[in-house]
């Protein structure tokens, strides 16, 4: 092995994108040997002051060069004899000139009469030639403007680093037919539940067209749900879970779209109804109406998992109660021993508004007391019970707060003139939209998985 010492000589390196077929022309693209030497010497003393420009057309005065950037290096320059591959000299390379900037736009002034006149009169630095220079002040069209190009067209010298990145949740999945497809691994499964509201003409009679054939496990859940829906056509999810085997809990929401549709607003809100059954046309459906409460829950509350309300036991996460599941001895008789409407109402269903709101106030009073860990106050309960039931025009309430429905009824009672009628219509329209919005918000609070329902 041939060994020798590294010499003290230091060098600067210039990365030139061209080839040295003609040495003179090659070095001229960097300004000549003197410019190269000056720039390299400056790079050792003050690297920021070193100036080296790459000019591929040295004779073009209007060519926009590319600036070099100086970096420190610690490389070696090795001189090797070709005859015997022996090392003749080893030196260090301390600075390097890199051309990494983007080239500016190129502009040709070959066919510009003004530039030619400018070059022949002013650039030659001849006193007599200056007299021949003149500027034509005749107005010209914009596209015919003739002038030298500016020193720089584009101020963006460094290229943009566009670091494209595929969605990290996307993965490749091999299909049974051997092909590979790209899917969102974290995307939610579509449930394809059919939703409806009180304004529809007819209720759905069959499942969603995009719903595929159920898997074996989902088919088992469907078979378990059929007798339940035959016996009782309207259910809440909580009630179904309490009637099913616990192992079916995860598959329930995938099985329901095969048997039922979902009400998103109105007196049957958040209930799953058997296909073809219209609770708006059957007064027996009054027992299946749902009452929804905005309970302020926290983790401290504990209770048995039940969908039945008995006035004493509280399951903190249950927000929707059906009339047939209310067994409270104070409230249940109010729902059974009452005269129903002849037609299903948009908001209160088959119950008259006076009785409906009284029951709701009683439920709210009891639920709020149970949440606070107390038994409902008998004074408050009796006050609500003894309150007069007012139909559709106004109602007496023990609470100061009034929700949108109360305001709706209040506005409807002021039917005294045509102007008031118009105002009432506007208010009802506003309340209706507000309730619809309210319903969607509450659905998302109940179960995060509901997001895909509205994605249909």
């Amino acid at each position: 092995m041939n060994s020798l010492k590294i010499s003290d000589n230091e060098y600067a390196l210039i990365e030139h994108p061209g080839f040295a077929n003609n040495k003179d022309a090659f070095f001229q693209t960097l300004g000549g040997v003197q410019s190269i030497q000056k720039a390299c010497q400056t790079s050792f003393q003050n690297p920021k002051q070193a100036l080296l420009e790459l000019n591929l057309r040295p004779k073009d005065k209007y060519h926009h060069p590319v600036q070099a950037r100086v970096q420190s290096r610690n490389d070696l320059l090795v001189t090797i004899k070709k005859m015997d591959n022996s090392v003749q000299n080893v030196s260090r390379i301390r600075q390097v000139f890199l051309f990494r900037d983007m080239a500016d736009f190129q502009y040709s002034t070959q066919n510009s009469p003004f530039v030619q006149k400018l070059d022949s009169t002013l650039r030659v630095l001849d006193y007599n030639a200056i007299n021949k220079f003149s500027i034509d002040l005749t107005p010209v069209q914009r596209k015919h403007v003739d002038m030298p190009p500016p020193p720089v067209f584009s101020q963006t010298s460094l290229p943009m680093s566009y670091n494209f990145l595929q969605n990290p949740l996307v993965g490749r999945v091999r299909l049974p037919n051997g092909k590979t497809t790209i899917v969102n691994l974290k995307g939610q499964c579509r449930v394809w539940i059919i939703t409806t509201n009180m304004g529809v003409e007819s209720v759905p009679t069959c499942r969603h067209s995009k719903l595929g054939e159920p898997s074996k496990t989902i088919q088992e859940v469907i078979e378990a749900l059929k007798p339940l829906f035959e016996k009782r056509p309207v259910w809440t999810r909580r009630a179904l879970l309490n009637h099913l085997d616990p192992s079916y809990t995860h598959y329930l929401k995938f099985a329901l779209p095969y048997l039922s549709y979902l009400w998103t607003s109105g007196p049957f809100r958040d209930t799953y109804t058997r296909f073809g059954y219209d609770p708006r046309k059957d007064s027996n459906a009054a027992a299946y109406q749902a009452l929804f409460f905005k309970l302020k829950l926290n983790g401290k509350h504990k209770g048995t998992k039940t969908h039945v309300f008995d006035g004493k036991t509280l399951f903190p996460t249950n927000r929707v109660y059906q009339v047939c599941d209310i067994v409270d001895p104070t409230i249940a008789p109010l729902l059974k021993d009452t005269q129903l409407r002849s037609e299903c109402h948009r908001d209160t269903g088959w119950y008259r508004s006076g009785r409906y709101y009284k029951v709701r106030d009683l439920m709210r009073e009891k639920l709020f007391a149970l949440i606070e860990g107390e038994m409902p106050s008998e004074v408050a309960v009796n006050m609500i019970l003894n309150a007069e039931e007012v139909e559709e025009s106004d109602r007496y309430s023990n609470f100061d707060e009034q929700d949108n429905t109360d305001l709706n009824d209040t506005v409807r009672g002021l039917n005294t003139s045509a102007t008031d009628d118009r105002i009432n219509d506007l208010m009802r329209n506003l309340m209706k939209r507000s309730q619809e919005h309210e319903g969607f918000e509450d659905l998302e609070e109940i179960d995060d998985d509901y997001d895909d329902i509205f994605g249909d």
Partner: protein
Amino acid sequence: MSSNSPSLETDVDDVENIVFQFQNSSLDFQSSDDFSILGIDQPHPIVRIGGMFFRGTWHQPIGTDIVVPSVNDSELSRDGLVLCKRRLMLEQIRLVPKNPSPSSSIHSPTQGEPENISEN
């Protein structure tokens, strides 16, 4: 026999100038370190600098590299600039002896060191 002349000969047909570039730019070697190269015509030459060993990979840069001396009182002529057409990228490696017996160590008559193999 090796030539230790500090002057750099011109780029004529009998010599070739090669840029040796280090992947680890934080390496710092002194000017008095020994330099040896083994297998200059192989795809992966082995380079020793002081106590460090490197494995080289040949690279063909875009265009041409110009190497310019830093200190020069006189003006450089066209031939004073060195042109390099290929580059050797060096990656530091760790040498492990094949046999632990001392008889397998390499002994060079041109150096006074008993063995060349060291581990970093």
